[in-house]
């Protein structure tokens, strides 16, 4: 693993996002210094955990040229299933493993529809979004699963060091693993290649169907982890959980430089994207911006952040030209 340099990780197009993020933090803290309080910063990361886990997962699907709209529903199914297992006294680790496996399986079902049934990813996962949501409701009859055991909540979202909860470590650990998968394993290369040019990749002797299936599986794992964190954080497993969460996850990936057309993306960018969104959200709250104007501020900053990235990649191209010429 010598070849994983922190510098390299941050180089790829993510630096503009770091700038946007820092700019946001500076502007907000100048207007209201309380923004910089530890509690608030932890809150920003904490708010980014669920969306970040989802976004990391969906980055895999997007990179292969697909999309997964069902992550919110997958989350809900994992939440109620794991929740039911937990309240029935099943061992915590078994529950966690079962949840993750379930997420992978649901993702793989999407992958199956996309590869074997050759459905368009958007439409396939639109279908499964609805089906999975129905399953989540039916599993509990629509009721929330109450009284999730304290042990589970502490394990997954309890404070570890100072007031930093374990879920934050989970986010970064998952991001690191996914970064390694994407950049340092064969399947990762195949994800990017299949998203960039499916036919050329297939003709290179790569089983692109299998790779895409894995990508959706990993996407499901991200959703499952997000579900576990949510379950631990809220202590209640609601079948309505995660409704509409896919939009924010996709937004985080897109702001982080993942191309919606596939073939390009990075986990660092995605995590930064999730952090930017949550820094923005928390900032607007701390400033007490009027709810209606928040819509405008939020939208504008998304556009600006994305535009920053476009400009940076343009500049970079020009710079490297100058440097090399």
């Amino acid at each position: 693993m010598k070849s994983i340099h922190v510098g390299r990780i941050f180089k790829n197009r993510s630096s503009s996002l770091v700038v946007v993020l820092l700019l946001l933090v500076v502007v907000f803290s100048v207007i209201n210094p309380i923004y910089l309080s530890v509690y608030n910063l932890v809150d920003i990361i904490e708010q980014a955990t669920i969306n970040g886990l989802l976004a990391i997962g969906i980055t895999f699907a997007i990179i292969t040229g697909g999309i997964d709209l069902s992550i919110g529903s997958t989350m809900a199914v994992v939440i109620v299933t794991t929740g039911l297992m937990l309240v029935n006294g099943i061992d915590i680790w078994v529950c966690i493993l079962a949840g993750v496996a379930l997420g992978f399986a649901m993702g793989a079902i999407n992958g199956f529809m996309v590869t074997k049934m050759m459905l368009q990813p958007f439409i396939a996962t639109l279908g499964s979004m609805s089906i999975f949501r129905g399953i989540a409701y039916i599993l509990t009859g629509g009721w929330p699963v109450l009284r999730i055991p304290k042990t589970f909540r502490t394990l997954v979202d309890g404070d570890i060091i100072a007031s930093i909860p374990s879920s934050i470590f989970l986010l970064f650990a998952f991001a690191l693993i996914c970064h390694i998968i994407l950049r340092h394993t064969r399947q990762g290369t195949y994800f990017l290649a299949a998203g960039g040019n499916e036919e050329a990749t297939r003709l290179s002797g790569v089983n692109t169907d299998r790779s895409r299936l894995y990508a959706y599986g990993l996407c499901g794992v991200g959703a499952a982890l997000a579900g576990l964190v949510m379950l631990a954080r809220l202590g209640t497993g609601e079948p309505t959980a995660g409704l509409g969460y896919e939009t924010n996850a996709i937004a985080a990936a897109a702001i982080g430089g993942t191309s919606m057309a596939g073939g390009r993306g990075s986990m660092v960018g995605t995590v930064l994207g999730a952090l930017t969104l949550s820094a923005l959200k928390v900032g607007l709250v701390v400033l007490g911006v009027d709810a209606f104007w928040q819509y405008i501020a939020m939208g504008s900053i998304i556009v600006v952040a994305a535009y920053f990235e476009v400009i940076q990649s343009k500049l970079e191209k020009r710079m490297s030209r100058l440097r090399k010429a």
Partner: protein, 495 residues
């Protein structure tokens, strides 16, 4: 005539790390066919792209009819009567042939597109070019050679006064090339100025009046074709003597042992295909555009489904339904359309070259990026790939260099059955010779090569045996001793 049709004055163009054009100045006269020659990466396409408004930023100036022009986009160039056949096939697959040809200049009636007229106009051009597909066919259902014809038809459609052809014949066989030359001659008679880029030097002598040679972005000189011979041309292009002929230097090394046997292969576009490939053999596949050669290769490689037929590898039956199974059996396929099938645009040289052989660079689940780069550098040296930079995006390479990347991808796998579909497509004379030597050394190692090619000299010069296709069926199997252009063409045309 007084003023030249086009005059390039001190044109320079810089890409990251590459000076693609360096102070190039020369003129092109009215109504001449002007060849633009040079090695891969010499700057030919770049010069044409500047002329046609693809690149709006460059140094120097371009004059047409003594008026300085600077087209900001291809549409301005086309409006000014300057049309181009691009080097890469660049069509919209979901649209029809007619829609692609007429793109941007559709005939209209009452504000709506006049489809009958469009089909009529485009159909006329296609007929003149000897094409047999309908203007209303979807482009995605056509073969690569047929697509290349559409690219040419597009340029002809505009009634331009200047037309440039950037390697128009890479996937065309003699017959189609003949048609094209006939058309070019007619255009010339109408006073239309033509710039012609090709690595097939024989074509230059058939069609061009003068030739300008570029090397490493610099102008070497402009020559009248009548005053120069092939060897001199090559020397000024490459800077040294290279044999321009596709010839076997090493002795034939065909062994008894069968590597691959195909029995009664059948799919929608071909039928009853049986042949075998021996160890150490180069087996040529000849045929006209659309004769089904590519489809057979793709079927063997598991890229397309077959209806029936058997495949034997080393005498044992093999079931290959997907490319990864072919790869596992030691079969490699160099596809004919590099842009859509050969490489991943957003990936760099090292990643593209390693894509098929990634297993070799993987240890403990992790990829050894250093080894992958070393492999890349190795082949870059072996094939003279420029720029020698593993991080360069393949899409930023010149056409010929891209072809080398795709070739290196398959050599990296160590496959022992190599199927090359148009392997020297867009490759310059010098590198071509290197590829021929490479093929010889591969067969000397006991590998078998199937070479599909539309260049008859190459087929005749390199093959141990040639299979001639006609409309999806094997028309003849010719041993090396019997090879010549007439007989191959005879069978290819179904006579």
């Amino acid at each position: 005539m007084a003023s030249p049709a086009i005059s390039f004055q001190n044109v320079s163009k810089v890409f990251p790390g590459v000076r693609a054009l360096d102070d190039v100045s020369f003129t092109i006269e009215h109504g001449e066919v002007h060849a633009l020659l040079g090695e891969n990466g010499a700057g030919k396409s770049t010069l044409l792209n500047i002329l046609h408004g693809v690149y709006a930023q460059y140094e120097g100036s371009v004059l047409i009819e003594d008026i300085r022009v600077s087209f900001a986009s291809p549409s301005q160039a086309i409006q000014a009567g300057v049309a181009k056949v691009h080097q890469e096939i660049n069509l919209v697959p979901e649209l029809t042939v007619a829609q692609n040809i007429a793109m941007g200049h559709e005939p209209r009636k009452h504000g709506l597109i006049d489809y009958p007229k469009m089909h009529q106009d485009t159909g006329a051009i296609l007929t003149k070019m000897g094409c047999h597909f309908s203007p209303s066919a979807q482009v995605k259902t056509l073969s690569t050679g047929e697509m290349q014809m559409i690219g040419i038809a597009k340029a002809l459609y505009h009634n331009a006064s200047i037309i440039s052809f950037d390697e128009p014949t890479t996937a065309l066989t003699n017959k189609e090339t003949e048609h094209l030359f006939q058309i070019i001659r007619e255009l010339k008679q109408k006073g239309i100025t033509i710039i012609y880029v090709s690595h097939k030097l024989d074509e230059i002598f058939l069609i061009a009046d003068r030739a300008t040679i570029l090397r490493d972005g610099r102008l070497i000189g402009t020559y009248r074709i009548a005053d120069i011979n092939k060897e001199q041309l090559i020397r000024s292009m490459v800077g040294r003597d290279v044999s321009s002929y596709a010839v076997r230097l090493a002795p034939a090394c065909v062994q008894e042992e069968e590597l691959l046997r195909v029995e009664n292969l059948r799919a929608s576009v071909f039928d009853d295909i049986s042949f075998s490939l021996h160890k150490g053999e180069i087996l040529g596949f000849a045929g006209l555009v659309g004769s089904g050669r590519t489809d057979i290769m793709r079927a063997i490689f598991g890229a397309d489904p077959i209806h029936s037929g058997k495949l034997y590898l080393h005498g044992k039956i093999a079931h290959i339904r997907r490319p990864e199974q072919a790869l596992a059996h030691g079969i490699g396929l160099l596809p004919e359309n590099r842009k859509s099938q050969g490489f991943v645009r957003l990936m760099n040289n090292a990643d593209n070259m390693g894509l098929a052989s990634l297993k070799r660079f993987t240890k403990w689940l992790l990829i050894n990026h250093r080894k992958k780069r070393e492999n890349c550098l190795h082949y870059m040296d072996e094939m003279g790939l420029t720029p020698r930079n593993p991080d360069y995006l393949v899409s930023d390479l010149s056409g010929g260099n891209q072809q080398k990347v795709v070739l290196a991808k398959w050599l990296s796998t160590g496959a022992d059955i190599l199927i090359f579909d148009e392997p020297t497509k867009g490759i310059d004379v010098g590198a071509k010779a290197e590829i021929y030597r490479l093929m010889e050394s591969l067969v000397a190692q006991g590998k078998g090569i199937i070479m599909v090619s539309s260049e008859l000299p190459e087929i005749i010069g390199m093959s141990d045996r040639v299979i001639v296709m006609h409309e999806g069926r094997i028309a003849a199997v010719l041993p090396r001793a019997e090879l010549n252009e007439e007989i191959i063409l005879k069978y290819a045309m179904g006579e």
